[in-house]
């Protein structure tokens, strides 16, 4: 049980409850090997706990190749009240592989999974993206040392050379852990700038965070105070957080409606950047099992500030989840994405 009078243990318990980040690599002989489980300490027995690791070991991200995963950005698994956002990438390797056809320098498969409660799953997309990008940028050429360290730990006789490998790996692991700590803290405290606060999911998620003691008023107003132990200020009328949020949203979905007669989905989106947007591509896709199928692709040469555009997509029988993307034509960077679930839309209308 958490010691309520010990702020550090309370902070740790809250961190565990809000978000857990797993970094794993794939070993041909051992299977999915965890390198780090944040915020749990090194030496935690959780990685050997079959029940705890079940959604990680059976996560669909393992079954898709990097190319298959690419259009989806990340793969999600919902399990017992939590959503596990998974992302896979390749990195440098010096490990001797145990499968024919693989060489020492064949790249290592790294999987990053961030699990958050379903109540705040709306924040998971951006979080997994941030964590993966930072790992790739800062640890791409170091991850193989953590893998070497994990393998070395299994050696029965620890020679000075092996000890050196372990120490070096542990140091990198500590840096990685600190980086994830910083990203998650910063993300939940400062970076969430989702602006359509009137959406039910968003309100639900913010309420959840507020309930957990996170100062969600900081979403609009960055405050450099303690991350996890702030007062709840969500409904403080003296703050203008909602307005500030609205200004920060580059695009707002102002309306989504289902046209029953023609079986069409109407999505109205507003350019809220305050400037003209040039050369973007709009994609509407639907999800079936783990795969994505495109329904509509539309080039927008010019999108005026504050202008609302109406996108009409056919509704595919038995498909409930539709993804709406805005991508820059130039570098294919996704600048906006939203999942539209017809079931929740219908229940909201009723």
């Amino acid at each position: 049980m958490v010691d309520l009078f010990n702020s550090k243990s309370l902070e740790k318990a809250l961190k565990e409850e809000i978000c857990v980040v797993y970094i794993l690599y794939f070993d041909e002989a051992k299977g999915h090997v965890p390198l780090l489980i944040f915020p749990f300490e090194e030496g935690s027995k959780l990685k050997d706990n079959k029940r705890f690791m079940r959604p990680i070991k059976y996560h669909p991200v393992w079954f898709l190749s990097i190319e298959e995963q690419e259009p989806l950005d990340h793969i999600d698994l919902e399990f017992k009240g939590y959503t596990f956002f998974g992302k896979k990438f390749l990195t440098k390797s010096k490990r001797k592989k145990r499968r024919a056809g693989l060489k020492e320098e064949s790249p290592e498969i790294i999987v990053v999974i961030a699990s958050v409660s379903n109540d705040i799953a709306i924040f998971g997309d951006e979080l997994i993206h941030l964590i993966t990008e930072e790992i790739k940028e800062k640890f791409d050429d170091k991850l193989f040392k953590i893998i070497e360290c994990e393998i070395a730990k299994d050696e029965i006789i620890k020679t000075p050379e092996i000890k050196k490998i372990i120490n070096e790996g542990m140091k990198i692991k500590k840096d990685l852990n600190n980086m994830i700590d910083k990203i998650t803290e910063n993300y939940f405290h400062n970076t969430i700038k989702q602006k359509d606060t009137d959406l039910m999911n968003q309100q639900k998620a913010l309420s959840y965070l507020a309930l957990k003691g996170i100062d969600v008023s900081a979403i609009g107003d960055i405050k450099k105070t303690d991350f996890f132990l702030n007062n709840i200020k969500l409904f403080d009328p003296s703050t203008k957080a909602a307005n500030e949020l609205a200004l920060k949203t580059p695009f707002i979905i102002t309306n989504v409606s289902i046209i029953e007669d023609s079986q069409e989905l109407e999505i109205t989106v507003q350019n809220n950047t305050g400037k003209e947007i040039k050369d973007v591509i709009i994609n509407i896709t639907h999800l079936k099992e783990f795969f994505e199928k495109e329904i509509m692709e539309q080039d927008i040469d010019l999108w005026f500030p504050e202008e609302e555009l109406l996108f009409i997509s056919p509704i595919i029988p038995n498909i409930n989840d539709y993804l709406f993307f805005i991508t820059k034509k130039e570098n294919k960077e996704k600048i906006f994405k939203k999942l539209i679930n017809l079931k929740s839309l219908k229940s909201l209308k009723n």
Binding site: M296, L310, P314
Partner: protein
């Protein structure tokens, strides 16, 4: 007559905004009264005139606004539809001007802009559906002024809604 004509710089041609809803509603009602275009008020929503994108279709509602007063005086919809041959054909629909501004050249300014837009979208041709009982004078004005030629006659059968 030419004294009555509005100059191009007296008019702003722009895309429809949701705030134009009431003004466009009034113009469309007026058009329906005159030509029975089958307009139903409950189907013309605030979002109906927004730039619209659908597989194989793009649509814009253009608005002509008086620069001096901000009054919406004319409107017209243009759409590009991909036909069965894979070509985009442009259509000018529901072209209408407020009664007080008919004959002042607003429609022509609006149509010129619409044709430019349809051309930029890669349309191979532009078509206008006109009322069967429309005056020959109006057909002549459009044909001579804008370079259109009468090509089709459209026959329509309305279904009994009951």
């Amino acid at each position: 007559m030419s004294d009555n004509l509005l100059k191009e710089d007296e008019i702003i041609i722009r895309n429809y905004r949701t705030s134009d809803y009431e003004a466009t509603l009034e113009i469309l009602k007026q058009l329906d009264k005159e030509f029975d275009i089958g307009f139903k008020e409950e189907q013309w929503k605030q979002s109906s005139g927004l730039r619209q994108f659908k597989p194989n279709l793009k649509r814009i509602t253009l608005i002509a606004e008086l620069k001096s007063t901000g009054e919406v005086v004319s409107m017209g919809m243009l759409e590009a539809v991909k036909n069965s041959l894979g070509q985009y054909v442009g259509y000018l629909d529901n072209w209408s001007t407020k009664k007080d501004y008919v004959g002042k050249g607003v429609g022509k300014i609006l149509a010129d802009r619409a044709i430019q837009i349809l051309k930029s979208w890669g349309c191979t041709s532009v078509r206008i559906n006109m009322g069967y009982n429309v005056s020959k004078k109006l057909i002549d004005v459009i044909c001579k002024g804008q370079g259109f030629t009468p090509v089709f006659i459209v026959l329509e059968k309305k279904f009994d809604e009951k």
